[in-house]
């Protein structure tokens, strides 16, 4: 009996005899093409200079009695320009900053009970978080149960470790609520993965840590924890030129995540520090023209 020949449907084989580079890109399964150069590192450095991915951010997350509180600013800067791309951790590269965007989504909803924060290369964070969301869903379908926060963060950390040294810039926190309670992990593009209860990532993180650490207590109520997170982001945006825009605060509880607030930091300044009318000692009088 003649077997049906399915080799024509195999996507990895070229359809025509002489496959051009563009055919590979269109028909084959997506993969990362690498440039053929003698000096890969030099090329990547030059490419980064040229494309100037955005940097600068403040993100924070902490675990408390009622789950996880996650907050971030929304400014992205690109070299000297605020663009929509995400921020980087690398404080040393900060030069002149113009805002390229004031409305970047830095808190990514991986699934209804897990959030990821973005710091570093915007494209890197967006792409790998989306990829993580896909892998989490596949896990759910294969295992008939949700993936744990530890498992999700491990998936991401392993992927980033395999691209270690190739110039990816990702500093993210995976926050979620699973069977063992609230979970918070910090994962970065060096391949590091840390479990913890309080993290802040980005160029504004030192300022956010100051406010967060002094006001933190495990027994905070949801409103107080949200106000602490919001205040920490506000202070970071006040002092760090690379952070600004809108401070978003999310809460992850047993029922999943919920966005609690999104406030413009400029308006927050005046609500925290309203302008006092100054007493006038001597008013200037109009001079009469004779």
């Amino acid at each position: 009996m003649m077997k049906i020949d399915f080799s024509g449907l195999d996507p990895s084989l070229p359809v025509k005899g002489n496959a051009e580079d563009l055919d590979d890109e269109i028909l084959a399964a997506p993969s990362f093409k690498l440039p053929v150069t003698v000096d890969f590192d030099g090329f990547q450095k030059a490419a980064v200079q040229m494309v100037k991915p955005a940097k600068g951010t403040t993100t924070l997350a902490f675990i408390f009695k009622h789950g996880v509180m996650v907050a971030a600013d929304s400014r992205a800067s690109m070299g000297g320009y605020i663009c929509k791309a995400l921020l980087i951790l690398n404080l040393y590269k900060i030069n002149l900053y113009l805002a390229a965007s004031q409305s970047v989504k830095k808190i990514i909803e991986i699934n209804p009970y897990m959030l990821g924060t973005m710091a570093g290369g915007a494209a890197d964070c967006q792409f790998w978080h989306r990829n993580l969301g896909i892998k989490c869903r596949l896990h759910e379908l294969a295992n008939k149960r949700r993936i744990s926060v530890a498992g999700a963060s491990k998936l991401l950390a392993n992927i980033l470790y395999s691209y270690r040294g190739m110039g990816l810039s990702v500093g993210t926190m995976i926050a979620g609520y699973d069977e063992s309670g609230a979970g918070l992990y910090y994962v970065d593009s060096e391949g590091g993965r840390l479990k913890g209860t309080r993290f802040s990532v980005g160029s504004g993180s030192p300022y956010a840590y100051g406010v967060l650490d002094s006001g933190y207590s495990f027994d905070l109520s949801v409103e107080d924890a949200a106000e602490l997170a919001r205040r920490a982001i506000y202070h970071a945006t006040f002092r760090d030129g690379a952070s600004g825009g809108v401070a978003s605060v999310y809460h992850v509880g047993p029922g999943g995540w919920k966005k609690l607030s999104g406030d413009d930091v400029g308006e927050m300044h005046y609500s925290y520090y309203p302008i006092e009318p100054t007493t006038v000692e001597q008013e200037m009088a109009d001079v009469r023209i004779a």
Partner: protein, 223 residues
Amino acid sequence: MPKQQANWSPYDNNGGTCVAIAGADYCVIAADTRMSTGYSILTRDYSKIIQLADKSVMASSGFQADVRALQKVLAARHLLYQHQHNKQMSCPAMAQLLSNTLYFKRFFPYYSFNVLGGLDSEGKGCVFTYDAVGSYERVGYSAQGSGATLITPFLDNQLKSPSPLLLPAKDAVTPLSEIEAIDLVKTCFASATERDIYTGDKVEMLVLNASGIRREFMELRKD
């Protein structure tokens, strides 16, 4: 003789500026038609805009060879999509495709700064703006290219709408009518041409709305 280093780069910058504005039921996408290299003009009549689907139009500035390759890849992928799904790609779907296409060249990027405009499935205007490696965001308006730093502050002043991240959400639709938006785009290019040497010659504008798509040209300074 001093030691000589190899200095061939696979990239070049052909200059140019692209702008897109989204309205309640229309979208304007515009780009100048000058193509340069260094201080020379290669041509005054080069289109940087391509219509990828019936409701998606992309304008790109940067290295036009990479832009052309990217356009070919997207057009081919759209054709495959139409064969497989028997319908056109929506603008948000095309936006995601463009992002992934750019990111899969993360280690050898397309030197292409893109702006994708069109109508979403509700008929509202949408504009997506990208960086060179694929990060993207849906916005109400955007400028990319050599004149972007000149145009964006002006658009912020005229069109700035409340951030979509605010909660409680504030309405962020551009209140301008289609005629006013086209006029605004013409003003942007006229001003950018004055101060940016890589922008000029002509501006090509595509307007998408419920009744279809139309193209307009306006002359700019040629110096």
